[in-house]
């Protein structure tokens, strides 16, 4: 297949399959807790419902209210171009940004969501924005340490180079440095996808962290924001799996059957992370919000240990 078609396939994989992971996680959590749970396809039905509803806009909202869902959604469509989703070789436009560039675009979407939370003047929106910002500020040092470490490990910031290094070099894959990076990134993953024990699965406004920012949204705009947050989750899982944790199973030729196979493999890998997330969310009861530093401090320590391990060995 031509490279442009492949690139479109990469984006479409994230856009179309991301609600499925979310549906699976919700379903599996309910099953673990002994309930029947909604269908795995429920997120698609929710999207259908959202896009057939009326759009309501608060009187206090400015243009940011309209801009935010679009920015969030478009940002999540750009990031899949930069990372190996289906193929292990760079496709057209994947050199417009490295790992840091992808992180910047993801952060841009989060930044706009925080602005939108403040924009309408809703008290819970401001609370959600400030809570989410403090988490982002504390997660940032660990994230930067992980990026520095990966750059030292692969001597490059391109995700494709990291993927090739880990596939081709089993000793590097099993080195303590890499294993610590995987552990640190897993903690950051739970922070970014709101699955830490401090995040509540019950929808009470006082417990909400990032979610309180979008309380004013309804209808198609809410659909776009929900969809973009599911895409963000899928993108982060994909970076975690295809770049760090399980770098195998990507298409190396780009032919149609191998790409189809790599989609199946990707679904299988997502299933593994989804099961880990279900365990993380279920085994620990909800902690109060001010325990947020402990997992983040742990992530920072793991990243520091990884860099030390990389420098020593």
């Amino acid at each position: 297949m031509s490279d442009v078609v492949l690139q479109v396939c990469q984006v479409l994989t994230i856009v179309l399959l991301s609600p499925l992971i979310h549906g699976f996680i919700v379903f599996a959590e309910e099953r673990v807790q002994g309930n029947r749970g909604p269908s795995i396809l429920q997120p698609y039905r929710d999207l259908w419902k959202f896009f057939h509803k009326e759009q309501l806009v608060p009187t206090s909202a400015s243009f940011l209210f309209w801009l935010t869902p679009v920015v969030a959604f478009v940002a999540m469509m750009i990031v899949p171009m930069l990372i190996p989703v289906l193929t292990n070789f760079p496709l057209p436009l994947s050199n417009i940004g490295d790992i840091l560039g992808g992180g910047l675009i993801l952060t841009l979407a989060a930044f706009f969501l925080s602005l939108a939370g403040l924009d309408t003047g809703h008290p819970y929106g401001g609370m959600g924005s400030s809570r989410e910002s403090i988490l982002a500020i504390l997660a940032e040092p660990s994230l930067i340490m992980v990026f520095i470490g990966i750059t030292l490990l692969a001597e490059s910031m391109l995700p494709f180079v990291v993927n090739h290094l880990l596939v081709g070099n089993l000793a590097t894959y099993l080195s303590p440095a890499h294993l610590f990076f995987v552990a640190a990134f897993l903690i950051l993953l739970t922070v970014e996808t709101e699955r830490l024990p401090i995040h509540s699965s019950i929808h009470y406004e006082v417990y909400m962290i990032g979610e309180a920012r979008i309380l004013e949204y309804s209808g198609p705009m809410l659909g776009l924001i929900r969809w973009s947050s599911w895409m963000k989750q899928a993108i982060l899982y994909t970076i975690f799996l295809n770049v760090l944790a399980i770098p195998w199973g990507l298409s190396s030729t780009g032919s149609a059957p191998s790409v189809a196979l790599s989609v199946v493999v990707l679904l299988g890998k997502w299933l593994i992370v989804a099961c880990i997330m279900v365990v993380v969310e279920t085994v620990q009861s909800r902690l109060r919000f001010f325990r947020y530093q402990e997992p983040l401090a742990l992530a920072l320590i793991l990243a520091v240990l990884a860099v030390v391990a990389r420098q020593v060995l």
Binding site: P176, E294, L296, A297, L298, L305, V308
Partner: protein, 226 residues
Amino acid sequence: MTMIAQHPIVVAVLSLALFVVLILSFVILGSHWVRNHVYAFALQSWIIGAISVIVAIWGHFPLSYGIAALTIVVRGILIPFFVVRILDRTGVGRESAPILRSSSAVVVGGVLVIFAFVISEEVSHQLVSLPAVAVLALTVLLAVDFIAFLMLSLRTEALASLLGLLMIENGILAGSQILVPGMPFLLEIVILFDLLIIVATYAVLAPSLRARTGGTDVRALRELTG
């Protein structure tokens, strides 16, 4: 030493074990539940026993088997058993008033690891050129000891001080097994004797502390004489 340092798989296993020792000392530093400290200490001792076995096999130091056995029996089983018994009797659950929150303490511990790494790099550069695994061993030795000192200065619970002292000994043993393999057996026995005295002192001290101040918080102590 050279024989150990040159085999890549042995180096990989040893470095992984050293890192687990380091992470367990972070567990001790970060958790406020005293019982977790004891379990982490026991696990740390078992891993150090495993390091001794690896060194014994690959370096052909038969006495290292003895060190491994003593480490596992005394540090891995006897000391944790006695400390848990003391815990059950005195009813100490968790550190009640830490000076620094556990997340801050862990971050300070991370800074200390970097400091330890810089020192061992400099030692390797300027004094003797060490192989990578020996630099790592020196880093872990220093880092575990720094973390133990940090714990001694931050924790006010008497048992935490005891565990800090035990951690210092563990760090030294873990690092020296690789830095100076074939360490004299007598030295290990002397260190173990040290440990037993530390635990025995605590066992005598804790009840009298409780009787006098109603707790085992060393901040409540105002004088040394009886």
